[in-house]
């Protein structure tokens, strides 16, 4: 009960943020759209007309749940986006799982065996590798991927191996690159390093009790905090991966919408993006509060 109020506050604030983001995007888009008057003079729409248009869209979205219609692709926005997001979702979730699966063992090893050569050189190497942008890794792996896994015919039979490679390789790239993995490893290393210095853990180790389960349980939470706080990075990376590997999915839809001036599509994508990120923030907040009730205010 005590936790409910701050969360409610958080949600209300998140809604406000949602309006803020979509309106910002719409204002920016307004600079790209031209309206032609009767004399053939083209101007960008005024602030008032942008606001009015945005208001219409929001009312429709909130009251009727309609995200509008795409002029250029000639379909309902919700339909296009539903299609596009499936893949993006697989990518983002998959990449998060990949980075967690890699980060926890590596971070634990780094903390427990901090003086070995493996940790001294391999772990900083991992930091560097993970700091590289997605596209840099992708362009070197793409030729291999195209040769072995580039599936085209969804109506023919596809082997599981191919399907795994088709999604797996981009997911692994996304999980490794863009810095999330490096941050996670550092974080786990710190948490585990701090924990093994605690007296009760030392005592447990000395007594011969198994502490690995306890340690992993304690690292999970900070890892999830990173996941939620870096969620927007994963989404951004997913766009690049889609652009380079799949040429379908939400990033292509978004870029096309930008190219063909399709504000409704972009607004809807923007809204879902910020919805996801805001949701991630709320989860992050709840987790923090759950761990340390002092931060409730």
């Amino acid at each position: 009960m005590k936790i409910a109020r701050p969360i409610l506050k958080e949600i209300l604030f998140a809604l406000l943020v949602l309006f803020g983001t979509t309106f910002t995007i719409y204002l920016l888009l307004g600079q790209l759209i031209y309206e032609q008057d009767a004399e053939g003079v083209r101007t960008t729409p005024s602030f008032v007309s942008i606001t009015a248009h945005y208001g219409e869209w929001v009312t429709d979205a909130v009251l009727k749940g309609e995200l509008g219609h795409s002029q250029t692709v000639n379909r309902d926005v919700s339909e296009i986006i539903g299609e596009g997001f499936r893949q993006t979702f697989i990518l983002v979730i998959g990449s998060i799982i990949v980075s967690i699966l890699l980060a926890i063992p590596l971070g634990v090893i780094a903390a427990l065996r901090s003086q070995t050569w493996f940790v001294r050189f391999f772990i900083p190497g991992t930091y560097l590798f993970s700091a590289l942008p997605v596209f840099l890794l992708a362009i070197f792996i793409r030729p291999f991927w195209v040769e072995h896994f580039g599936i085209l015919d969804w109506y023919a039979e596809i082997s599981w191996f191919r399907l795994a490679g088709y999604f797996g390789i981009p997911i692994i790239i996304l999980g490794i690159a863009d810095g999330v993995l490096g941050e996670m490893i550092k974080h786990v290393r710190e948490v585990v390093g701090g924990m093994i210095r605690e007296n009760y853990i030392r005592a447990a180790i000395a007594r011969g009790a198994k502490v690995s389960k306890h340690i992993i349980k304690n690292t999970l939470l900070p890892v999830f905090t990173i996941v939620t706080s870096r969620f927007s990075y994963a989404l951004g990376g997913a766009l690049i991966v889609e652009y380079i590997f799949f040429s379908q999915g939400i990033s292509i839809v978004a870029l096309d919408a930008l190219k063909y001036r399709d504000p409704h599509v972009l607004l809807a994508i923007g809204m879902i993006f910020s919805l996801l990120i805001v949701a991630a923030n709320i989860i992050n907040r709840i987790l923090t509060v759950a761990v340390d009730p002092r931060t409730r205010d």
Binding site: L128, L136, Y243
Partner: protein
């Protein structure tokens, strides 16, 4: 939240290089700084080398008689020139004396182009970091120091709005609007990077606000500006900020390269490493890679990796030196 960091008095007293090396993270700082010094020197040479007559080739001039020439050094050729004599009609170009790293599709010298790209990033990095510091510190002080309801919620609203979007999307839209202008990209990225700085500042202020020395400073009658600027930002945040500056710098390189690679980055005559990688691989159809021509794309790739490595080492070293935990600047 504040971490007390105290120096070993012996270390503080001892002078010289050895003493420096004995402090935590010094090796990383040293190697990282070396990389950065090379980067800065390269950037300056890339910008002024041709103008001052130190290097015979310009980064932008298309030269007709020297397309696609491989590097002169045989080591680099074995590494990056993987062309085989193919079945189909293919012209084989010979290396030309004077082009250390070879030339690209349009006969431009790759060596000077990579260095010129460094100057683009150096400039963009400095401006972006300054913008983000300015905005971040202002916003952070507002939220932290003046804990009034209004200012706090406004500032926190702004940071939340800025964070609630993948930055690459915002940057693509801005690139569209601004005609792929470097300044617009710098300003936007500066604003986006400012949110983390703002959080750091407000967090620190939060934890220090009721400490004795701040209260004392207030008693003496020091102005808020002095307290925030000197006692909080300078004395208590500079170690955190220095790491932020380094990562902010890295983000400029990474994001601009990504933008350029997907075709929304800055255009000629500014040189971008992302664009060089894109063109060097052959474009949408990477025909250079297919044919085994790697020397056009690899130098900028190596440059990006080297710079990111340097910045990361420096950042890591500094955080070890100042005993900064991840948690300090992540949240």
């Amino acid at each position: 939240m504040r971490k007390e960091f105290s120096y070993d008095p012996n270390l503080e007293a001892a002078k010289g290089f050895k003493a420096f090396l004995r402090q935590p993270g010094s090796v990383s700082i040293l190697i990282g700084s070396l990389f950065i010094i090379v980067f800065v020197a390269g950037a300056l040479f890339g910008q002024y080398g041709y103008q001052l007559g130190l290097y015979p080739h310009s980064p932008t001039d298309v030269q007709y008689d020297r397309f696609d020439s491989p590097p002169t050094s045989s080591v680099l050729r074995t590494l990056f020139d993987r062309r085989e004599e193919p079945e189909f009609d293919f012209e084989y170009y010979e290396p030309i004396e004077g082009h250390i790293l070879g030339t690209d599709n349009d006969g431009r010298d790759i060596f000077i182009r990579v260095l010129n790209g460094a100057s683009t990033y150096l400039y963009a990095g400095i401006v972006t970091v300054l913008i983000s510091l300015l905005i971040g510190i202002t916003l952070g002080s507002l939220t932290g120091y003046y804990r009034g309801k209004a200012s706090e919620s406004v500032a926190s609203f702004i940071t939340n709005v800025l964070d609630a979007y993948p930055r690459i999307v915002i940057l693509i839209i801005v690139a569209f609007i601004s005609h792929f202008n470097l300044y617009a990209i710098m300003v936007t990225l500066g604003i986006l990077n400012a949110t983390r700085i703002a959080r750091i500042i407000s967090g620190t202020i939060d934890s220090l606000k009721n400490t004795d020395f701040i209260l004392a400073a207030k008693e003496i009658g020091l102005s808020d500006l002095t307290i925030i600027g000197k006692h909080i930002v300078w004395y208590n945040c500079r170690h955190l900020l220095s790491i932020q500056i380094i990562y902010g710098f890295a983000s400029v390189i990474l994001i601009e390269a990504t933008l350029s690679y997907i075709g929304y980055g800055i255009g000629d005559p500014l040189v971008s490493w992302g664009r060089m990688i894109y063109e060097g691989s052959g474009g949408r159809y990477p025909h250079n890679f297919v044919a085994g021509v790697y020397w056009q794309a690899m130098p900028p790739v190596v440059a990006i990796i080297g710079t990111i490595l340097g910045l990361n080492l420096l950042g890591d070293g500094l955080s070890k030196r100042f005993n900064v935990k991840q948690t300090d600047y992540l949240l």
